[in-house]
Structures are given as structure tokens and as C-alpha cells.
């Protein structure tokens, strides 16, 4: 039964909450009272200001509000965060993840469905606390600075929104409790849509935290490459290859950098290694083959 399944998850989360003894409330979290259907801009302004970005709901409206939908989409909330050089990190769909963030001093942006599955009423709020004594969450929500909502009611509204919860992180500060895969996925999005300096700071910290992680190293190399720092890109790729000499994508990118720096013969050797490291029928093969073609064209000047 679908209803039983839904209620089951909320029951499990209520059990997680029942063992909480200490109250937590981030009272310094700023508050931007919502105007009509602008809960997206208010909630996001709260999150960004906490993360050190001086921005108002009015200025966020241009980035996220859709008049025809009378609201803001989750993906655009994430994109607007990245545009302001902050990393949106999506939490695991667990109330324990939310509590963990609160106890680490970070408020949590959530999507709620305040009505029913068939007639949804979508709403963004910021969770700033949990009070075990009353079994209530404390939210910055709508026009209420301190909206205290019963835990079960909150959980049901959050469940209908597929447990969407996000924290906003500053590049360069990797929290202790993050999952590397999720964090690096967030960084990959950050990579394509933020300014180069912020992306480099983010990846330097990721590599420092997870030195054996080849995705982090690839990201750092790519960040330097995008910023025109080919020497540092080369070093970053080389570092990954010391961990995994067969990483074909890194080999490909290293070959490209070597070629652009004028080391054609070394580039040719490296790209050959890249080709031999992948399945001939795989998707990377043809891309790497193209790199090889570009590198081996006689008289082909390296791109500036």
C-alpha cells in the first residue's frame, strides 16, 4: 500500500528524532519576510547571506522567479547559488542529514508540499532548528521568522517534496561530513557555471581532502586549464596518474595540455596510452581518437 509506505518512512524518521536530546537553533540566521509568492528568493537570500554573499530577495527574483509558474524551480535555485560562487550541496533524503547540518551550524533549505500529492502547494523554507522537548522544527518560513512546526507535519510536507534539502557551501571549505561523490557532483556543476578562480579554490580544497580521488584531481586539472594555467593543469593531471596510471580521460586531457604547451611527441605518447586504456567500443574511444587526430596533424598549431 502506497500510504503505508509513505507513513513508514515518516515513522522511521520520527524514530530518529525521538533519540535527540539537545535542542539546536541557529538564531543568527537572517530573516527575509516573504512577499506573496516569493518564498524562493526569500529562502535563497537567507541561505546565501549565511554563506557570506550579500544579496537581497529582490535581486534574486530576476534569477529564479517565473511569473507564469508563480514560483521558482529547484534547479534554478541551484544555478543561482553557483552563479554567486557558492556550492549547492544536496543532502541525503534523511532527517538525520538535516540535523547533522544544523548541529554543524548550517541552516537547511527545504522544499515542502504544504497540501496534497494531487493538489500540491509548493513552498521553500529554511530549517534553522529542532526542539526535542516540543518535537518541533524551527523554520524561517513565509512571513514567520520563527515558525515552529510539529515534526510529523513537517516530515510529511517534506516527504511529498521527495525530501529535497540543500545546504550552501563556500568554495574551499569542505565540511567534515560530506559524501565525496555527492560533493564532487556538486562541484562538477559549479565548474561549468562559476568563475574560474572560485572553481580552482573549490577543487584545491577537494584534492587536499581526498588526495586519492581521481575525480577531484581531474576537476582541479580542468579548472586550471579553463583558467589558462596549463603548467598547473599538467601537474594536477600528473598527480592523478600517479594514483591511477590508466585513467583515460586524464591521459586525454594531459595529452591535450602537453600538445598546447608545445610537447608534441610527449603528447603523442600519452594519447596512445589513453587509447589503449579504453574499450574500443566505449564512448570515450572516439573522443580520444579525435584528440589523437588533432595532435598528429602536421603543421597544426596548438590552440592559444
Amino acid at each position: 500500500m502506497l500510504l503505508a509506505g509513505c507513513a513508514g518512512n515518516v515513522r522511521v524518521m520520527m524514530a530518529d528524532l525521538e533519540v535527540q536530546t539537545d535542542a539546536v537553533e541557529l538564531t543568527d540566521t537572517p530573516f527575509y519576510p516573504q512577499i506573496t509568492d516569493q518564498c524562493g528568493p526569500s529562502a535563497l537570500a537567507t541561505m546565501l547571506n549565511v554563506a557570506g554573499v550579500d544579496v537581497s530577495p529582490a535581486s534574486l527574483k530576476a534569477s529564479i522567479y517565473i511569473p507564469g509558474r508563480q514560483g521558482s524551480l529547484q534547479l534554478e535555485m541551484l544555478a543561482a547559488t553557483r552563479s554567486r560562487q557558492r556550492i549547492p550541496y544536496t543532502l541525503d533524503p534523511e532527517i538525520s542529514a538535516v540535523l547533522s547540518e544544523l548541529r554543524s551550524g548550517r541552516p537547511v533549505l527545504v522544499l515542502q508540499n504544504l497540501r496534497t500529492k494531487s493538489a500540491p502547494l509548493w513552498h521553500y523554507a529554511v530549517v534553522v532548528g529542532y526542539l526535542p522537548g516540543e518535537q518541533r522544527f524551527v523554520l524561517r518560513s513565509g512571513d514567520q521568522k520563527r515558525y515552529r512546526v510539529k515534526a510529523a507535519k513537517f516530515l510529511r510536507s517534506w516527504q511529498r517534496a521527495d525530501y529535497w534539502a540543500v545546504v550552501v557551501l563556500e568554495p574551499g571549505k569542505v565540511p567534515d561530513n560530506v559524501n565525496p561523490e555527492t560533493y564532487l557532483r556538486a562541484l562538477a556543476g559549479f565548474e561549468s557555471t562559476s568563475d574560474a578562480a572560485a572553481v580552482i579554490v573549490a577543487y584545491v580544497a577537494a584534492v587536499a581532502k581526498w588526495p586519492q580521488n581521481t575525480l577531484a584531481g581531474l576537476g582541479l586539472g580542468n579548472a586550471y586549464y579553463a583558467n589558462g594555467q596549463l603548467d598547473l593543469a599538467q601537474q594536477a593531471y600528473a598527480a592523478v596518474l600517479r594514483v591511477d596510471p590508466q585513467d583515460a580521460i586524464v591521459l586525454n586531457n594531459l595529452a591535450q595540455v602537453l600538445y598546447e604547451r608545445g610537447s608534441s611527441s610527449e603528447a603523442t605518447d600519452v594519447i596512445a596510452m589513453a587509447l589503449s586504456a579504453v574499450d574500443v567500443n566505449g564512448p570515450e574511444y572516439r573522443i580520444i581518437l579525435q584528440t589523437q587526430q588533432e595532435i598528429s596533424q602536421p603543421g597544426n598549431k596548438p590552440a592559444q
Binding site: M1, D37, G40, W122, S192, T193, V257, Q290
Partner: protein, 137 residues
């Protein structure tokens, strides 16, 4: 060619894989129709294939971007803002939005303050919604 985003852009990899398979099937069909001639794919064709894949990728990304931008403008977003906003979205996000812009949750309606009889009517409506919800399951 420099590979961006590495293995994390899984959608991009799968899209590419799908396009590559489709292209390969098209090319494999040609030699079969010319029974007696060689069945291998020439290097030249392979190069064209790779370039086509990359081109298709680029075209898909551009199309998704345009499609989402148009949709936002139709929904009342200022065109200048719409351009900036699609520029801030990743290829994966653009593909998602291209398909589901009208259906994805748009958070906006907050808790509405009402007074008097309007409140009673709304409460009854809420209860009716709740009743419908439970009776569905």
C-alpha cells in the same frame, strides 16, 4: 579535444553512447547493402563519425538552451534575465528542464493569512482535499 567534467557528466556520456550506437548502426548497414565489398569502416568515416557525434552533442546542448530560454520567456521571464539564467544551468539541468519545465515544482505559494468566513471555507476545502487523499489509497 579536452574532456570537461570527466566521468561525472553521466548523462552526457550516455547520450554520446546512444548517438554513437545509432550512427554505427547506420554505417554498418551501408557495407551490408554492397554485398561483396569490404565491411570495415574506414578511418575517414571514423573521423567523420566522431565529429558528427561531437556536433550532435553541441547541437543538443544549444537546442536545449534555446528551448528552455523560450519557455521561460513564454512564462513571463524578462528575455535578458532568461538568457542569463539558461547560461547558468548545466547541460544535464537544461535537458531536464527542456522536458519538464511545466511539471516541476515551483515553490512560491506560502502560508496565506485569511480571516473569518473565508478561513472557514478554506479549512473545509483543505479537509476535502485531505479526505480525497486518504480515499485514494
Amino acid at each position: 579535444m579536452h574532456i570537461n567534467g570527466g566521468g561525472l557528466e553521466m548523462n552526457r556520456v550516455f547520450t554520446r553512447q546512444f548517438v554513437v550506437v545509432a550512427m554505427t548502426l547506420c554505417l554498418v548497414a551501408l557495407p551490408l547493402m554492397q554485398a561483396a565489398t569490404a565491411a570495415i569502416i574506414s578511418t575517414d568515416t571514423a573521423i567523420q563519425l566522431t565529429e558528427r557525434v561531437a556536433q550532435v552533442e553541441r547541437i543538443n546542448a544549444v537546442l536545449a538552451r534555446d528551448s528552455v530560454q523560450d519557455a521561460l520567456i513564454r512564462l513571463g521571464v524578462d528575455p535578458i534575465n532568461a538568457t542569463a539564467r539558461v547560461g547558468a544551468l548545466t547541460d544535464t539541468e537544461l535537458q531536464t528542464l527542456e522536458q519538464q519545465l511545466d511539471k516541476l515544482p515551483a515553490g512560491g505559494t506560502g502560508v496565506i493569512e485569511v480571516i473569518g468566513i473565508v478561513a472557514i471555507v478554506l479549512i473545509i476545502l483543505e479537509l476535502l482535499h485531505v479526505t480525497d487523499f486518504f480515499s485514494e489509497f
